[in-house]
C-alpha cells in the first residue's frame, strides 16, 4: 500500500516537473528575455544577496531572471551551468568567476551564440567578458576611511592603520589612497596624525598583538582604521576587552556578522563594505543594456541603473573595462541588526 502511494507520488512529481519544463518552453516562445546570473557556490549568504539584487533589477525592467550557483566553488561546476544556459538560449550571462581564465572557452561559445557575457564581483579575463561590475573604487575606499577617521577623532588626534599582510595588494592600494587623501587635504587634516601602519597578517593572534602595541605605544590614539575583516574584528575585540569604548574607535572594512557586536556596543561607530544587493542590481542593468545593441562595454560608455543613478565604463587594471559601484556601503547601529544575519 505504502509502496503504491510512493509510486503515485513519484509519478505526480515527474509530471509536475515535465509541465514546469513545458511551461518554461512556452515562455520562451512568448519571447520574454531571460537574463542569467551565476554565483560562485550555493549556501553563501553574500552570494544570495547578490542574486537577490540581480533578480530585482531584471524584474524591474520587465524581464525574467535566472539565478544559479553550483554546489562547489569550482570552474568546472560553473562550466556545466553555462552550458545549460546556452542550451536555454538566455539573453545574457553575468558570472562571478571561480577562475579568471578557465571559463574562457565556454564563455566564448556563449558569446558566439549571441549571448552577452559580463562578470561581477569576481572577474573573468577581459577576453571572456564585455565588462566587469566591480564592487567599489579603491580611491573612494581609501578616501572614505580617512574621512571616517577624521569624523570619529573629532578632527584631531593620532590615527593608525591595522592592515593585513605588508604584501596584500588590495590593502596596500587602499592605504596609498588614504595617504594621498591626507596629503592632498593637508589643511583639513592638519591635526590628524597617521602614526603607524601595522600589519596583523590577517591572523587573529597577531592582529590582537599589533592592536595592543598600538594602544600601548600611542596614548593619544583616537582611531584605528583596519581595512581587513580579521583585523577590524580583532581591533574591536581588544577595544571592548580593555574597556576603551568611546576612547579609541575602530573603523574600516569588515563583515557585518563579525562586527555586529562591536557596532552595537560602540567600539566601532560605523564601518564599510560593499553592498552585495547593489552589486547584483547594477549587474542587472548592465546586462540588459548589453542586450540593447549599442552598449559594448567600451571605456566611456554610459548606462542608467535606475535607483543607483548613471554609470560610466572605465578602464580596469587587468586590461579590460569595468563599472564601479561607487562608494562603499556604510554599516552603522541602525542597520546592523538587519545585516548581521546576512553575511
Amino acid at each position: 500500500m505504502n509502496k503504491r502511494l510512493l509510486m503515485v507520488l513519484v509519478i505526480v512529481l515527474l509530471v509536475a516537473q515535465a509541465t514546469a519544463v513545458f511551461a518554461a518552453g512556452a515562455k520562451e516562445g512568448a519571447q520574454v528575455q531571460r537574463h542569467a546570473f551565476i554565483f560562485k557556490n550555493t549556501g553563501n549568504p553574500y552570494g544570495d544577496k547578490q542574486m537577490e539584487g540581480f533578480a530585482a533589477g531584471i524584474k524591474e525592467q520587465g524581464f525574467e531572471a535566472i539565478t544559479r550557483a553550483p554546489d562547489q566553488p569550482t570552474a568546472e561546476a560553473q562550466i556545466q551551468i553555462i552550458e545549460q544556459l546556452i542550451a536555454q538560449r538566455v539573453a545574457s550571462i553575468t558570472i562571478t568567476g571561480n577562475d579568471f581564465d578557465a571559463l574562457q572557452p565556454v564563455l566564448t561559445r556563449a558569446k558566439n551564440q549571441g549571448i552577452k557575457v559580463l562578470s561581477a564581483d569576481s572577474a573573468v579575463n577581459p577576453a571572456s567578458r564585455l565588462t566587469h561590475i566591480n564592487q567599489a573604487d579603491s580611491e573612494m575606499i581609501g578616501r572614505t576611511l580617512i574621512q571616517a577617521a577624521f569624523d570619529m577623532a573629532g578632527g584631531s588626534g593620532d590615527i593608525a592603520i591595522l592592515s593585513a599582510t605588508s604584501q596584500a595588494s588590495n590593502q596596500n592600494l587602499w592605504i596609498e589612497w588614504m595617504k594621498k587623501e591626507l596629503a592632498e587635504n593637508a589643511a583639513k587634516y592638519a591635526n590628524l596624525k597617521l602614526v603607524r601602519v601595522a600589519y596583523g597578517d590577517d591572523l587573529r593572534d597577531k592582529s590582537v598583538s599589533e592592536t595592543e602595541a598600538l594602544l600601548q605605544s600611542f596614548p593619544n590614539l583616537k582611531v584605528i582604521i583596519a581595512p581587513t575583516t580579521v583585523g577590524i574584528a580583532a581591533a574591536g575585540r581588544v577595544i571592548t576587552d580593555r574597556k576603551l569604548i568611546g576612547k579609541v574607535k575602530v573603523t574600516g572594512l569588515g563583515l557585518p556578522s563579525e562586527m555586529a557586536e562591536y557596532i552595537e556596543n560602540g567600539a566601532c561607530p560605523y564601518m564599510f563594505l560593499w553592498n552585495p544587493i547593489d552589486v547584483g542590481y547594477l549587474s542587472a542593468y548592465a546586462a540588459v543594456a548589453a542586450t540593447k545593441g549599442s552598449f559594448t562595454g567600451a571605456v566611456g560608455q554610459t548606462f542608467s541603473a535606475s535607483r543607483l543613478g548613471n554609470f560610466t565604463v572605465t578602464k580596469a587594471s587587468d586590461g579590460g573595462t569595468e563599472v564601479l559601484l561607487g562608494a562603499p556601503f556604510k554599516f552603522e547601529p541602525k542597520n546592523i541588526a538587519m545585516w548581521k544575519t546576512v553575511y
Binding site: 601595522a198 598583538s209 595592543e212 563583515l255 556578522s257 563579525e258
Partner: protein
C-alpha cells in the same frame, strides 16, 4: 667531578635563557618604556597562555620522539564545534563548552595515538594526514561560514576575558595545566616512563615498560590540550572560522625547542618550557612595540629558534661526552 664546572648542562642552559630574556626585556624597555607596565605584561601573559598550554602537550609528544602537526586543525575543529553548539544553545554552561572541546580534542588525539602506537605510522605522516582531515571537517561542520561574536553567549566569551582571583582566566587555566603537568611528569610512574620511552626505547622495552600505551597516552593528552585550547581560542577572539590557528603548530614546536625540549626525544623540562614560551611571547609582544618592520619580525624569531637549537645540540654533545668520560673512569 672537577670537569663538571665547565660542562654546559641543562641548568646552565636555562640560566642562559633567563639571562637572554632579561637582556632582551631591558633592551625593549629602553626603546619603549611601556613594555614593563602592568597593563602590557597582563596582555603579554594573556596572549601567551594558549601557547603555553599547547607547549605542555607538545613536550610530551616530543619526549616520545614524536611530533604533532595536527594541533592547529584540532584547535580550529574543537573551537568551531563548541562555538556552533553555543550559537545553537546559548544557555550552555562555559564549563560544559570547555569539557566538550577537550573531549573532541582527546578523541582526535586518540586516533593519532592509535595510528602511531598501534599501527607504527610515522608521527609526521599520521599527524599530517589528520591535520588535513580535521581541517576539512572544520569546513564541513561550519559550511564554510564563520561563527561571530554576536552568536556567542556572554558566558562563553567570559571564559577568556573573565578573571579568577584577579588573574585572567586563560592565565589561571595555564597555571593549572602546568601544575598538573609538573606533578604528572616528575612524580608519577607513568610520567617518568614517558621519558624512558623517549630516551632509550630499546632499554625501556626490555625493562617491561608498555611503550605503545605511553605513546598513545602522549598523543591523547596533546589532543585533549589542543581541544581545550580551541575553546579558549574562539572565546578569546570571539570568532570561529575554518582557518583558525592555521600553522600554529609551528609556533608551539618553536616554543618547545626554545625551552630545550629535544626533537630527538627523551629531553624536556617544564622549567625550560616556561622560559621558552615566555621568550616567544615576549618576541610576539615586543617586536610590534619597538616597531620592527614586519619583514624582520619573522627573521628575528627564526634566528632565535636557530640559536636555541644550536645551544641544544651543544648541551647534548657535552652531556654525552660527560657521560662517556664517567664511564671510562
Amino acid at each position: 667531578m672537577a670537569a663538571r664546572k665547565f660542562v654546559l648542562n641543562e641548568n646552565l642552559r636555562e640560566l642562559g635563557l633567563l639571562m637572554f630574556i632579561i637582556a632582551l626585556s631591558a633592551g625593549v624597555q629602553a626603546r619603549n618604556p611601556v613594555f614593563l607596565t602592568v597593563s602590557n605584561l597582563t596582555s603579554l601573559f594573556t596572549n601567551t597562555a594558549i601557547l603555553a598550554i599547547l607547549a605542555v602537550g607538545m613536550t610530551l609528544v616530543l619526549i616520545t620522539r614524536g611530533i604533532d602537526l595536527s594541533i592547529g586543525a584540532t584547535i580550529a575543529f574543537a573551537g568551531m564545534v563548541s562555538s556552533l553548539t553555543v550559537a545553537a544553545y546559548p544557555t550552555i554552561s562555559p564549563a560544559l563548552s570547555l569539557l566538550q572541546g577537550t573531549l573532541i580534542g582527546a578523541f582526535i588525539g586518540s586516533i593519532i595515538g592509535l595510528l602511531v602506537a598501534r599501527f607504527n605510522v610515522l608521527p609526521i605522516i599520521a599527524t599530517l594526514g589528520l591535520m588535513n582531515i580535521v581541517r576539512g571537517l572544520t569546513f564541513m561542520v561550519s559550511g564554510g561560514k564563520w561563527v561571530s561574536s554576536y552568536q556567542m553567549s556572554t558566558g562563553f566569551k567570559a571564559i577568556a576575558t573573565g578573571k579568577t582571583l584577579g588573574l585572567n582566566n586563560l592565565v589561571v587555566i595555564a597555571i593549572l595545566v602546568y601544575a598538573l603537568a609538573w606533578y604528572f611528569m616528575n612524580h608519577t610512574r607513568t610520567g617518568r616512563r614517558i621519558y624512558a620511552v623517549g630516551s632509550n626505547p630499546e632499554a625501556a622495552a626490555i625493562s617491561g615498560i608498555p611503550k605503545k600505551r605511553l605513546v598513545f597516552l602522549a598523543y591523547a593528552l596533546m589532543g585533549a590540550l589542543a581541544g581545550l585550547a580551541g575553546v579558549l581560542w574562539v572565546a578569546k577572539f570571539a570568532s570561529a572560522q575554518g582557518d583558525t590557528a592555521m600553522g600554529y603548530e609551528l609556533q608551539v614546536i618553536a616554543a618547545c625547542i626554545l625551552g630545550g625540549v629535544s626533537i630527538s626525544g627523551g629531553v624536556g623540562r617544564l622549567s625550560g618550557l616556561i622560559l621558552g614560551t615566555v621568550l616567544l611571547g615576549i618576541l610576539n609582544n615586543a617586536l610590534p612595540l619597538i616597531n620592527v618592520s614586519p619583514f624582520w619580525q619573522m627573521g628575528i624569531q627564526g634566528i632565535t629558534v636557530l640559536a636555541a637549537v644550536l645551544t641544544n645540540v651543544m648541551v647534548k654533545r657535552n652531556t654525552d661526552r660527560n657521560a662517556l668520560r664517567r664511564r671510562a673512569i
